[in-house]
Amino acid sequence: MLAQRLAGALGSDAVKTSPEDLSVYAFDAYADGAPPAAVVLPKTTADVCAIVKIARECNEPIVARGAGTGLCGGAVPAAGGIVVSFARMNRILELDAPNRRAHVQPGVINFDLSRHVASSGLFYGPDPSSQRISTIGGNIATNAGGPHCLSYGTTVNHVLALEVVDGEGDVFVTSIDDAGYDLTAALVGSEGTLGIVTGAWVRLLDLPEATRVWVAAFDDMESATEAVSAIVAAGMVPTALEIMDAVITQAVEAAFHAGYPTDAAASLLIESAGFEDDMDGCEAAMRTIVTAYGASSWRSARTQAERDALWAGRKGAAGATGRIAPNYYTQDVCVPRSRLPQALRAVAAAAAENRIVVGNVFHAGDGNLHPLLMYDKRDPKAVAAVVETGNAILQSAVDLGGTISGEHGIGSEKREAMTRIYSAGDLATMARVRDVFDPSRSLNPDKIFPRAIQSPDVPPA
């Protein structure tokens, strides 16, 4: 019935209902869930409006989906319903180079956008490690970050205007230049619970004139994190400050031969981008600091190929751990930068207590940790130990004044943990926004909000 109505509105090639097709949509990079009742692939905004209206009439929930690379179950249906895939809305509609902006459909792949605009001397700032497959729409839903948000900021800083379909199937447009409430900012990071983004104007940045990449090796992790704090405190603004521990660099080198030392307890990847005139001074100042904090070596990537190899290793770090264990779970917490030493000690202690192998690869400049907990999911004891370890890491971040997600999102995974950082009143205030855009809770239900406040506390208008 549902599928027939959808096929009637969009054509049968836009609707998938076979069990093998549907099973693909029961996953993201974190969670296995239940398959949806139907998957729809709209081509236009009008299609999305039609889908939402049909879903409302049939009382089915809707989950919008980009590439399914999410790490918290955000795009996985909680209970059946319709998955709206943006695979066919993947066009760059307009590049407005003089005004440094582009109009894109949500299914455009992050990396494709940067590649497309490079010939105009521009690029798109947010660069999550998934950028070669993840979509702008998904990035907007999660307010995705990446190594370079240290200086460029997360996705919200790069979204200028949105076209959105709300929970009733009505389309509206928001812009950060409009008078009135900043609805654009409220929608970015709302994980598809306030509306379905069907188009976006994004800000583009000038490609830097000069880019340098260095790697400093340290004999202990604590010194590396202290060096990061010192670099930032000295007023330097590198474009990335990333740390990997030995577990990770060994896996990365085995997989990619990227150029990291494998015998160092911590490798610090530093990137500075800007003007040639600043680069030598920048390198000297940075090197002085890392040396003062005990760096055992300093390497400068000499060519674009060397820089690219280092970055490919960094961005492929999680995948490279396949050599250590068949599965990994990535925790994502953010702490005040100066608390990194304590946070990393807590990670190590939690992993040791649960006998889990942990590798650390993280956005040190932002205090954003990504411990990778390695395990074999066929072993129920190991799964339980990973859950326990992840939970302990989450709590330690909260105890250190941090947050339960720096950039991956809340999704289904962390919804109950929201009460660790927010009071019932804080969460009820957020829920008021949802009351306005999705009073019936049909857009991506059972995400972000803990069960206790999932239901609307006012009847839909």
């Binding site: 003089p98 005004n99 999660t142 970050g145 997360t154 919200v156 709300d166 509206f172 447009v173 928001t174 230049d177 409009d178 008078a179 009135g180 409430y181 900043d182 609805l183 900012a185 409220a186 970015v188 990071g189 306030l194 704090s229 930032v232 405190a233 007023g235 603004v237 003007f275 005139d277 600043d278 702490v335 005040p336 930068r337 100066s338 956005h363 932002d366 205090g367 004044g401 947050t403 339960i404 997600s405 720096g406 950039e407 991956h408 999102g409 809340i410 950082i421 927010y422 009071s423 009143g425 804080d426 009820a428 205030t429 957020m430 008021r432 926004v433 009351d435 306005v436 855009f437 208008a461």
Partner: protein, 407 residues
């Protein structure tokens, strides 16, 4: 209207929340007031029973120097915050007028956009968390003290620019930026037929100026003297090495545009820049109205000229600032006295909105202000905005009628 002099100045967030809840329960309307520097933005409240001053909520709650983060109470004046941070080599790019009076909360609530935002971002981009007093007296927190946080909706950005119509910001947490080591200001008078070329040259510089203005008028308020086509001011920030090259590039760009002489200020550059920002909302007694609108940078110069020409057709004196980097136009029209201005401002307002539908009034003490299209054309999502207001402040306790579309 009851006695508008009924002023309350709570000393703690809790006390403020209690005042708000009492007013809400008894249907008394609240005007929220910080430093009274941007009250020329938006409409006057349609009714007001209590003026709620945030100015006693003052001071730093936490200053995490190692993390470059900071939490302050909303009534803290920007200048106090700036001088504290400057001593530590840090800043937050508010760039709001009259910082000695302007408060952190008021500047956020007004959604103030400063001229360095193309380089340093908007104030909202430094905002990590907020505490807000809602109409029912709830003190709700959002965000935190970490630089990356995607736990839940971005409520802090939603409150930024909301004009106090959703609640009263009582605390704000920020990340701070490293202060640029050097600052330099360029001043030049523009001879005939140079303005367009200078603006285009400035916008195209590889090392972007931290701010660049074309100014005409604002004599004595803004440094420099007008040439035939006004004057430019450009602020450079950066390391010594960078400034050296940027200075060369800027000089030759201005020279290419046909401007013979440039004056360079190292001492007093920052103060001269701040005088430009002050001028954005400076009124001439009751005989001026200041508009602001935001075209894209490449069209801004043409549109600034068009509104100047319009003012002149109405025999109004026009003072203009064009923020070349962001494409942001400020037009102040004035007349001989308040009555003369009042006699023609409504027709001028109509004519202006014909060509710039989104122009907003940002400053005026003229009695006719309330009858102008202060917010310009309503945004497309006005119905969603109205619904949000109803959900947050169903009794319209906060700033009723001050915001877009009568919110």
């Amino acid at each position: 209207m009851k006695d508008p002099a009924h002023r309350v100045e709570p000393k703690t967030p809790e006390e403020l929340a209690a005042v708000v809840a009492r007013c809400d329960a008894t249907e008394r309307k609240i005007l929220i007031l910080g430093g009274n520097t941007l009250t020329g933005m938006g409409l006057p409240p349609e009714r007001l029973d209590v003026t709620l001053l945030t100015t006693a909520l003052r001071g730093v709650v936490a200053n995490e120097r190692a993390d470059l983060t900071l939490a302050v109470l909303a009534g803290t004046p920007l200048a106090d915050l700036a001088s504290l941070l400057a001593g530590q080599g840090r800043f937050i790019p508010f760039d709001a007028p009259r910082p000695q009076y302007a408060t952190v909360g008021g500047t956020l609530a007004a959604g103030w956009l400063g001229p360095r935002r193309h380089l340093h971002g908007r104030p909202r981009d430094c905002l990590l968390g907020t505490t807000i007093a809602l109409a029912d007296g709830t003190l709700a927190r959002a965000g935190g003290m970490v630089v990356k946080n995607v736990a839940g909706y971005d409520m802090s950005r939603l409150y930024t620019g909301s004009f106090g119509t959703l609640g009263v910001i009582v605390q704000a947490n920020f990340k701070t930026l490293a202060a640029p080591p050097q600052t330099r200001l360029f001043l030049a008078r523009l001879p005939e037929r140079t303005r367009s070329r200078v603006c285009a040259q400035l916008a195209a510089l590889a090392i972007q100026p931290a701010a660049a203005f074309w100014v005409e008028g604002f004599r004595n308020a803004i440094d420099g003297e007008d040439g035939v086509e006004g004057r430019i001011l450009a602020l450079l920030e950066g390391s010594d090495a960078l400034l050296e090259r940027a200075t060369r590039d800027l000089r030759s760009a201005i020279g290419r545009a046909g401007v013979p002489e440039t004056q360079v200020l190292d001492v007093g550059a920052r103060e001269a820049f701040e005088r430009v920002v002050d001028a954005y909302v400076a009124t001439v007694g009751q005989r001026s109205v200041t508009y602001r609108f935001y075209p894209f940078a490449p069209e801004a110069e043409r549109r600034a000229r068009a509104v100047r020409a319009l003012a002149q057709r109405f025999e109004l004196k026009a003072d203009t600032i064009l923020d070349v980097m962001n494409g942001d136009v400020v037009l102040r029209v004035s007349d001989a006295n308040a009555a003369a201005l009042g006699a023609k401002i409504e027709i001028f307002d109509d004519a202006l909105h014909e060509i710039e539908p989104r122009a907003q009034v940002v400053a005026s003490q003229n009695a006719k202000r309330a009858s102008l299209r202060v917010w310009g054309e309503p945004p497309e999502a006005i119905e969603q905005m109205r619904a949000l207001k109803r959900r947050f402040d169903p009794n319209r306790t906060f700033n009723p009628g001050r915001f877009v579309g009568g919110i």
